[in-house]
Amino acid sequence: MSLKNTAERWGGISQLLHWTIAVLILAIGAIGLAMGELPRSPKYFWVYTMHKSLGLTVLALVVVRIGWRLYAGAPRPVPGTPRWQASIASLTHGAIYLLILAMPLSGWLYDSASGLRPLRWFGLAEVPKISAPDEAMAGAAHGAHEWLFWVLMALVAGHAGAALYHHFFQRDATLARMLPRGWISVPPREDAP
């Protein structure tokens, strides 16, 4: 497996970052939705710390991922993709990159502006505050954090749906090339010779 991206395939590093971040975001989202229902007690504060620590991990990974993409480039759209589809895909990818940066940043801002307690990344390292305690700022950041999450989920659903559409209906390599070679095969087109 090539580590760098080629014109045809995503390399190992981009694949690892893509799927790690995807899994983390789904897990963080599930924790985030569930933790609001927990009784407010120090017994459960570790759940919040876990959500925030994983979120900051995603922030770091996204920065690495964007840097790697700028360095290693991206494969071209699979041959035969209409220009309008490629444009929508690019716009969606760009929006998702922005949102997966904005999600941890808005969460971090919410945490800082709330000023409830110190944040230690997985209990190991003190995370600096990016705002003084500020109730209005905390409210705005929390609102953004929630709304951006649902926008992100809608885009991710479209993104995943498009990948599955390419795989099962277009029967092209769009999905397969984001996975290690041989994990899934591109199904032969019925109209193929």
Binding site: R40, S41, S114, G115, L116, R117, P118
Partner: protein, 188 residues
């Protein structure tokens, strides 16, 4: 009012009658706008402060006779505002102030001491969450048209069961809560 000032004794009596209520009134005060009652604590080392917007002070005080002083403060616990809605709503629960059962706290003291540095101390009683315990308020008195009482006290929250159950760990929230108040007073 017609007073016949016919004899020195009558003059003296009239003067005494006019001055006596004035002297008594000068020592009785009610709380004026601009007063604050604040508290400060920490969570996991993170400092936070709060204010009670609803509190009412009645004071009887003559700096020359502190031992005759009396102080009575009533505090609406639901008015605690720490700048965070989650924290404020938690403070209202049974684990903290339990405002459903104990809506108000009361601090009363009678007989103040003059301290060596010119301040005063009131050895009063705080009634909070159904528990009464001695709490000493030390204060500075600033005389004027609207005198100001600048006071500080330390309250041990666990004595009153504030932050009980899961919140009792003093490693997260120290037992001692710092109280500071600035009461602007108007003479009655």
């Amino acid at each position: 009012m017609t007073i016949k000032l016919t004899t020195p004794a009558a003059v003296a009596a009239a003067l005494a009658a006019m001055l006596a209520p004035a002297a008594a009134a000068a020592a009785d005060y009610a709380q004026a706008p601009g007063s604050t009652l604040a508290f400060a604590s920490r969570y996991d080392g993170e400092l936070f402060t709060g204010r009670f917007g609803d509190f009412d002070t009645k004071l009887s005080f003559d700096p020359a006779r502190p031992e005759a002083g009396r102080l009575d403060v009533s505090i609406g616990l639901a008015s605690a505002d720490t700048g965070n809605a989650d924290r404020d709503s938690t403070l209202k629960t049974a684990d903290f102030f339990d405002i459903a059962r104990f809506a108000r706290a009361r601090y009363s003291a009678s007989g103040f001491r003059r301290l060596a540095d010119g301040r005063y101390a009131a050895d009063g009683t705080l009634e909070l969450r159904g528990v009464s315990r001695p709490v000493t308020l030390t204060f500075e008195w600033k005389d004027g048209a609207q005198p100001v009482l600048d006071g500080k006290a330390v309250v041990k929250r666990l004595d009153f069961g504030v932050g009980s159950g899961d919140w009792a760990d003093t490693g997260a929230i120290p037992d001692e809560v710092n109280i500071s108040t600035r009461v602007v007073l108007k003479a009655l």
